[in-house]
């Protein structure tokens, strides 16, 4: 998967697009220079440093604010801290600080503590990077970029065509995944808006031709351990999952039940994460990205995904 003619990566973070990678050296011997690897989330402007070098799966995970996106990301790294995640082996991340800041938030939320580090209400996409091998240490590396955006952007896209159309990353994403908060689905007073908002989002995406029918959309239901513990799997299936399958038979491709953190031994912490990663690296888009760019050249985001075929 990696380009053997270019063993060094172009740095992420401080190098403007379309400029040669150089490191400015101050004249004074004891001066400092900025490392061109920030460790934080990758911005859209810097994506090509990954995507031009590696075949990369782009995952768009969207959902309501507080639906569990940060916890899901953090829990993936959580598992790798303890060893393999199923068949997956950790091979690196260019965004360790991005992952760890989300882990901090996730821990705060699980304790009902308020963090001063809550992500700002920016509606700009940022990206987390994860590199993994499957089964063997010397297997090819799989690169995943998780496109992360504030839940408010999900709401905006649900509400207006203009905001939905601005989610151009949906067209490039290898998989679009909507996350539903499983705990809210147990609450009779809160589950109706959850269902309604997912339906409205899919309808508007479909209306604006933002969904590739071959790729469709996938649903992740978080906190499934709580649903399992209360023995309400059938109820939740009947309330949300079956109706979505009926309404969007061509669009809803799969449902993954996840427990990022759990005290339920029958659905332990980490359940569903391997299936989530299976989805993330499945059916990578085997297209010539340059050709796709020509066809849809107005999208700025597509420029970041031109992959040099080896």
């Amino acid at each position: 998967m990696e380009n053997p003619t270019n063993p060094k990566e172009e740095p992420i973070g401080v190098i403007p697009d379309n400029e040669d990678v150089t490191v400015d050296k101050p004249e004074e011997e004891d001066e400092l220079f900025q490392l061109p690897f920030e460790g934080e989330d990758i911005s859209e402007e810097s994506l090509k440093q990954i995507t031009s070098r590696y075949r990369t799966s782009l995952i768009l995970l969207v959902g309501e604010p507080e639906s569990g996106k940060s916890t899901l990301y953090a829990s993936i790294l959580d598992r790798f801290y303890k060893g393999r995640l199923g068949k997956y082996i950790f091979a690196g991340t260019r965004t360790p600080i991005g992952f760890e800041s989300r882990a901090h938030l996730a821990r705060c939320k699980s304790l009902n503590l308020v963090s001063k580090n809550e992500r700002t209400n920016t509606k700009t996409f940022s990206y987390l990077h994860l590199e993994m091998c499957v089964q063997d240490y010397d297997a090819a590396h799989n690169h995943i970029l998780f496109a992360d955006v504030n839940g408010e952007r999900f709401r905006d896209a649900r509400d207006t065509d203009e905001d939905m159309q601005s989610l151009t990353v949906m067209k490039r994403a290898d998989h679009i995944i909507i996350i539903a908060d499983g705990e809210l689905l147990l609450d009779a007073g809160k589950r109706l808006p959850v269902k309604k908002n997912i339906i409205k989002f899919i309808e508007r995406a479909k209306h604006n031709d933002m969904i590739d029918m071959n790729k469709g959309i996938h649903l992740v239901v978080s906190k499934w351990d709580k649903i399992n513990q209360t023995k309400k799997e059938t109820e939740v299936e009947g309330f949300l999952i079956e109706p979505l399958r009926t309404m969007f038979p061509q669009i809803l491709k799969s449902v993954i039940r996840v427990a990022s953190r759990s005290t339920n031994p029958t659905f332990p912490a980490g359940s569903g994460l391997e299936a989530f990663l299976d989805l993330c690296i499945s059916n990578p888009k085997q297209v010539d990205f340059a050709t796709e760019y020509e066809l849809t050249g107005e999208s700025r985001e597509f420029q970041k995904f031109k992959y040099s075929q080896l």
Binding site: F33, T71, D78, G83, E100, S101, L111, V114, S115, A269
Partner: protein, 299 residues
């Protein structure tokens, strides 16, 4: 045979065992130790720092923290060595960088210009990991509330104390310095592979305080220790063998814990301080504290 100037970078987070190793190395090179592989060929032009840290090492006093040393972030250590078996003469330069400076590399993403030049002209890196100073990863599902109400003293992770109970619902701020050791080391190693001009970065990993490890797990090897105690780092190293030329050593340079009176008394009973050294490569145990240096310059 002409002298060969060799440079080695020693890397590690605060209190990783770098200074103890240097003190032990200086003692090893400058004293008659049975079976030693290297010895000092001529005195260092300036051995003040080496003598100071070695004096403390001999007295079983905790090492001077490099961060408390005057002047810049790294002290240049120079040893003029002779390899006893093959006659190779080596001028070894080891910048003794502070652990704080490596932590700062991670948090601030800054490098000293001089550091890149030093590292590029080196034989490789010795990475120190102190098993007693690892910031653990706390799983989201493992947390307890006290984790967020901890306050850190100046002395590091071992000295955490629980703050007085409060009714606050405000969490401690996210602090990059509190990120688990494993991911910091993965990141440090990653950008060294990218920033330096090596095809494969030579890295000798030293698990320091190896006596502490062996007390709990007598049969464990250094690689097994990493696999069992730092699984994320282990996975990273194993899946990136194309980036690294690796070897792993377990080294006890002190012979025990200087801060524990019983342990200190035991160490002081050694007639020959050279008997404190314990070095393990795979299953082989010896006292050649120069082994990581030998490996880096002869591999």
């Amino acid at each position: 045979m002409s002298d060969q100037a060799k440079k080695i970078i020693i890397m590690g987070l605060p209190e990783a065992g770098k200074t103890s190793f240097l003190a032990g190395l200086y003692y090893y090179a400058t004293n008659e130790i049975v079976g030693r592989k290297m010895k000092e060929r001529k005195p260092s032009a300036n051995a003040a720092y080496l003598n100071r840290i070695t004096d403390r090492w001999l007295q079983c006093e905790t090492p001077i923290r490099t961060k408390n040393e005057p002047s810049n972030s790294f002290k240049e250590v120079q040893l003029h060595l002779l390899h006893i078996e093959n006659g190779m003469t080596i001028d070894l330069h080891i910048p003794d960088m502070t652990g704080e400076s490596y932590l700062q590399q991670f948090t601030d993403r800054l490098w000293e210009v001089g550091y890149k030049e030093e590292a590029d002209s080196s034989e490789g890196i010795i990475l120190f990991i102190n098993p007693t100073k690892i910031k653990p990863h706390v799983l989201i599902d493992d947390i307890v509330k006290s984790f967020f109400l901890l306050e850190e003293t100046d002395e590091g992770a071992d000295d955490y104390k629980v703050a007085a109970p409060t009714n606050s619902t405000e969490a401690k701020n996210f602090d990059k310095e509190e990120v688990p050791t494993q991911i910091i080391l993965c990141d440090l190693l990653f950008y060294h592979t990218q920033m330096l001009d090596f095809e494969k970065l030579p890295v000798a990993i030293i698990i320091s305080a190896w006596d502490f490890v062996k007390k709990a797990s007598p049969d464990i090897t250094p690689w097994q220790w990493i696999e069992q105690n730092m699984p994320l780092l282990f996975q990273y190293l194993k899946t990136n063998q194309s980036l690294f030329d690796l070897n792993v050593f377990g080294i006890s340079a002190q012979g025990g814990n200087f801060t524990e009176p019983d342990s200190k008394d035991e160490i002081l009973k050694f007639d020959d301080p050279g008997d404190r050294f314990k070095v393990q490569e795979e299953a082989t145990v010896h006292n050649n504290i120069c082994a990581p240096i030998e490996w880096l310059i002869t591999r």
